[in-house]
């Protein structure tokens, strides 16, 4: 990696994520949620903003099955979903 110290230009350095690695889902416990999410992505031209509920459900599934540390969803960036979940559901339907 080039380590030229240029002021203003930041170099890329891969760093491990804050919460470490996901444990492997060896038994496919959350596979159905993943399928739903992937289907949603395909239906919505891979627009992530429209499939946030599905992604949230997948993460909740992992949390419920101890495949992820339990955390409030606000800390995972879902505070807009937890606040006006019903509103968004109405808008989608």
């Amino acid at each position: 990696m080039s380590t030229a110290m240029n002021f203003g230009s930041k170099t890329f350095r891969p760093r491990p994520p804050d919460k470490g690695a996901f444990p492997l889902d060896h038994f496919g416990e959350c596979k159905s949620f993943k399928e739903v999410y992937m289907q949603c992505l395909r239906n919505n031209h891979f627009d992530n903003s429209r499939c946030r509920i599905e992604s949230k459900e997948y993460l909740e599934c992992r949390m419920d099955r101890q495949l992820m540390t339990k955390e409030p969803l606000e800390k995972l960036g879902f505070n807009d979903l937890t606040e006006d979940l019903s509103e968004e559901n109405e808008a989608r339907s």
């Binding site: 002021f7 992992r62 960036g77």
Partner: protein, 259 residues
């Protein structure tokens, strides 16, 4: 015979010596007598002069001593200052490393992770709705690992400040368990600092049993500051690339960023 001659010689010598000494004495006396008058006067003068001189020398000496003391004091203070400066320099050189690290963390210079870019931000960040970025996914495996590893979606459209989920799939087609370890890269490089992962499958060893297939999720977000960086103005595609390597026993990969 010999002794008589010696005696005679001796007496003769003595005689001569005595003679010469008396003559010397007389000479001395005459000189002394002559000298005393002048010498007394000289002595008187010189003593007075000496006295006078000694008095002046005393005051001069005192002055000299006080000045020397002053200089000594000055030298001492200057020396202490120099010593303090030296000790300070050594201290500063030791403090330079943590201080520079602090500076780099505050400014993000040299690719150092900026403190505060962590989970706290995720809860409060606001999505930038009018900036849609295409994130494409790429998967590679090192020649030594016999996994089938590929992304399950080729691209996702994300806005900065919104968490997104992506999946990779890995399959171990061999008849024995294989442990893999992965690292990632982001293209363009400058966008890498804005590409934050909350959780992924990287940097940790993953063991796949024979003929096992697993989904590997990546949960990430793009920093909302991405929209404000002028260097990112023309970036609308970010590629996330993962590479899996076979982890062999006794080999420890250094964690990138901590080297």
């Amino acid at each position: 015979m010999l002794s008589s001659f010696l005696l005679r010689g001796c007496t003769a010598k003595h005689y001569i010596q005595a003679l010469s000494s008396t003559r010397l004495c007389i000479d001395c006396c005459t000189i002394r007598r002559l000298a005393t008058s002048s010498s007394q006067q000289f002595l008187r003068r010189t003593t007075q002069r000496l006295l006078n001189q000694s008095r002046g020398a005393k005051t001069h000496k005192r002055k000299h001593q006080s000045q020397a003391d002053d200089w000594k004091k000055k030298n001492k203070t200057i020396l202490t200052y120099i010593a303090a400066a030296g000790v300070g320099m050594i201290g500063m050189s030791y403090a330079a490393v943590p201080l520079y690290r602090l500076y780099c963390q505050a400014t993000g210079l040299g690719g150092a992770a900026v403190a505060g870019h962590d989970t706290e931000q995720v809860a409060t960040m606001k999505p930038v709705r009018d900036r849609i970025i295409k994130v494409t996914f790429n998967a590679d495996t090192h020649a030594s690992i016999q996994w089938n590893f590929r992304p399950q979606q080729s691209e996702i459209y994300v806005v900065p400040g919104e968490t997104a989920l992506a999946f990779y799939r890995a399959r171990n087609p061999t008849d024995k368990p294989v442990i893999g370890i992965s690292t990632y890269n982001v293209v363009p490089f400058e966008a890498g600092q804005y590409f934050n992962k909350i959780q992924c499958f990287c940097f940790e060893e993953q063991r796949l049993n024979p003929h096992e297939e697993v989904d590997m999720p990546v949960f990430f977000y793009i920093d909302p500051e991405f929209d404000e960086d002028p260097r990112m103005a023309r970036v609308d595609t970010i590629t996330l690339s993962y590479t899996f390597f076979e982890a062999k026993e006794g080999q420890h990969l250094p964690l990138p960023g901590y080297s």
